[in-house]
Subunit: 239 residues, 2 copies
DNA sequence: AAATATTTTTAGACAAAACTAAAAGATTGT
DNA sequence: ACAATCTTTTAGTTTTGTCTAAAAATATTT
């Protein structure tokens, strides 16, 4: 596998995150995601096209090629392993890991990452609950859904919080909600889309508590059903 | 402390390594050290001068300012802590750590490095026996000397091997010599400058063995006297 | 189907970091 | 002292990645 510049890698990763299943990504969308200008995106798309990392027809948008996805998964693997390391070994908090991992992910050494993976005990989820691709680019899909979509009285486990600001961290800490917390939605109020949930922190043998969650907060909490088994999602062709 | 580009950092570090106590470094010398061209060095020296990291008079050479030395020691700290991490935690061999550390050293996060230092147990020497500056830029001098300069029958400890090729590693492994090995020079032969040494591997309770060392090999082995106490060498003004 | 608005691409410029070739400064040998 | 040599700097390009402004293509309204 060839090496790519930090800039190229950031574009590849951003395209991967924007393109869901087979959607095509737009110039403006990517420019916005990367806080850059559309003209810069067009330049880079031409370059990545000649490197066969994506399919691109002028004015028609673009999406990653099979090779491009493989590269993206490699970058995501590095990013999430470093986040796990920072959180688990260096006691970084949840909201501090991303910024540093953004730098560490660009250090290119296959051996470094595979040894780090081993050292960490082959973790499968990063501190935000996102799955970590394995050394072959295989990634588990935790079939995440937002709690706004969760049916009433169905038990689920918090696996992701999309907004990673310290403000949300503070709020969740206060309500005793964490990655791994089991919860159920007990009631939904149509007036302001707030909801009442019962939650029991992982490991603690304690009576589940009732909390009210605002619409803004609910939109940022993602859960995975306790029943859904994990399935392989990306890199299927490479198993 | 400001942030510097990877390129600037590599220049600063190279100047630090070239300038001994108060020597002035030359354009050609630095160009050679960095495998670049003299013209590129001149350009960068102008830039680093405006940033007050070095003293530079055209045609007269340059040396790091107090601030420049502080920056250099920060880079060296990061480099050597990562080397220790790779060797100690990820089981990298001696000769593999440098190349990866060369990339990791440019990740700029004070917290990352201080937490890493703590996680590693505040190690004082990297896998090559070079001292690691502490968080204030203080560094221990191990007063290293080459075994070619060691007097006969004086016990010393291997603390550094300047050539880090896998060839020398293989040779030393075969002769059972490592960082930490106690040795004495028993005889020197003027004909080919080879020498006979007795060495006992660290930790192992075993009869010291006699080995013949060629001049080329001897030149690359550095030791520290078992009696010399460590002293603070750099960053004296900042304690 | 035009007219209008939006999105995307092109053209031209710039900064960082490198290079080559030529000019200028410093050093050395006679 | 001065010519020859070596070192260093300057001038002018190159590559990568960014930007602004203008032009072209596509999408939306009327
Ligand atoms: Mn992240
Ligand atoms: Mn990044
Ligand atoms: Mn090194
Ligand atoms: Mn470096």
């Amino acid at each position: 596998m060839l090496n790519y510049s930090t800039s190229e890698e950031n574009y590849i990763k951003a395209i991967f995150h924007l393109q869901g299943e087979a959607t095509t990504v737009t110039t403006n969308g990517l420019a916005h995601e990367l806080s850059t200008k559309p003209a810069s995106v067009t330049d880079m798309m031409k370059k990545l096209k000649t490197k066969k990392l994506l399919h691109y027809r002028p004015y028609r948008g673009f999406h990653l090629s099979q090779e491009g996805k493989k590269v993206a998964l490699g970058i995501i693997r590095r990013h999430r392993l470093w986040e796990y390391f920072l959180s688990e070994k260096l006691q970084f908090t949840w909201d501090e890991v991303h910024e540093v991992a953004e730098q560490l992910e660009h250090v290119s050494s296959k051996k470094l990452i595979d040894k780090l993976d081993e050292f960490l005990g082959f973790p499968r989820f990063d501190p935000h609950g996102d799955p970590i691709p394995d050394r072959h680019g295989r990634i588990l899909s935790s079939r995440q859904i937002c709690i706004t979509e969760l049916s009433l009285n169905k038990t689920a486990i918090v696996c992701n919080v999309s907004d990673q600001s310290s403000e949300i961290l503070e709020l969740l800490k206060h309500k005793n909600i964490n990655i791994g917390t089991k919860l159920e939605v007990k009631k939904k109020f149509d007036f302001d889309n707030s909801m009442e949930i019962s939650a029991a922190s992982r490991g603690k043998i304690r009576q589940p508590q009732l909390f009210t969650i605002s619409e803004q907060l609910a939109k940022n909490i993602f859960v995975t059903s306790t029943l859904t088994p994990l399935r392989v999602e990306e890199g299927k062709k490479n198993i």
